[in-house]
């Protein structure tokens, strides 16, 4: 009977399973991101969270408990210094599992499991807005000549000031990427008209991170024209 047995079976004997999961734990804490099967990852997630909670407790007893599980002292050292501090703000959910697809051979679902360091964009629904906004971005180049005439020096100054500030915002809050990217791209286009080559580079980098490839292409084309 399965009563009070939490773990997935994974491999036949419990010794084998224990060794497997310990090795996976070490690999995860060393590399921060590893690729494995979904079942192993979901089992690993439990143990990894427990280890990090131990690390956050941080006393000698906790350290010895961790050492009794992890077969690598260097990893425990990293866990109790670097990783512990990184998750001071977080109570649980230290790992993230993202599916890749079925493995060729046995069609096992492969995943990437990683220690969480950043936030993903929140909803697919929010992403659906992105294609809707790109037409607006398309219209912008047509409106640009008018902006050039009207806003000359003042626009340049504004763009120079606003562009770096918005970059910082985007880096800090990836959730707000959508709205910030729209504003930023507007600002960037003004900056490009101001013929500042440095800001165009920054704009290219940022748009690539915000995954709006259409605006990126436009900006590239414009920068080529300027060059």
């Amino acid at each position: 009977m399965r009563h009070r047995k939490k773990s997935r079976r994974l491999v036949g004997k419990w010794e084998h399973r224990k060794a497997l999961l310990r090795n996976l734990l070490v690999a995860l804490f060393i590399h921060e991101r590893i690729q494995t099967t979904e079942a192993k990852a979901k089992e690993l997630r439990r143990l990894a969270d427990k280890m990090i909670v131990l690390a956050k407790r941080g006393d000698l007893a906790a350290r010895r408990q961790a050492l009794s599980i992890l077969p690598d002292k260097a990893v425990v050292r990293k866990l109790f210094s670097e990783i512990k501090d990184r998750y001071a703000y977080r109570q649980s959910g230290f790992t993230r599992i993202v599916r890749i697809g079925p493995r060729r051979g046995d069609a096992a679902m492969m995943v990437i499991i990683e220690l969480v360091t950043d936030k993903l964009e929140h909803k697919p629904a929010a992403k659906k807005e992105a294609p809707a906004t790109t037409p607006e971005a398309k219209e912008k180049p047509a409106a640009e000549p008018v902006e050039e005439v009207k806003e000359t020096e003042a626009a340049e100054a504004k763009a120079a000031e606003s562009a770096p500030a918005q970059e910082e915002k985007v880096e800090e809050t990836p959730q707000a990427v959508e709205t910030a990217a729209e504003e930023a791209s507007e600002a960037k286009e003004e900056a490009i008209t101001a013929e500042s080559s440095e800001t165009t580079k920054e704009a290219e980098e940022e748009t690539s991170t915000t995954s709006q490839e259409e605006t990126k292409e436009e900006i590239k084309e414009e920068s080529e024209k300027k060059a």
């Binding site: 993202v98 599916r99 697809g101 990437i112 697919p124 490839e213």
Partner: protein, 62 residues
């Protein structure tokens, strides 16, 4: 041993198979590269999921 008394007619066979049709997989569109991908998975063509690059592809087309 229990054995069928009669051969199934073409009609019976067809009725049995009426529910056996294959279903197309639910495919969504990658918001970054616009290529088809399976939902809740990393995009196989550009390697991103929810705005983050998880797999580095050998070459990107754009």
């Amino acid at each position: 041993m229990a054995v069928p008394k009669r051969k199934s007619s073409r009609s019976r066979r067809g009725m049995r198979r009426a529910h056996k049709s294959l279903k197309a997989p639910a495919v969504s569109v990658c918001p970054k590269c616009k290529s088809p991908k399976l939902p809740h998975r990393i995009c196989p063509s550009c390697g991103t999921y929810r705005g983050k690059v998880f797999l580095t592809m050998e070459e990107e087309e754009f």
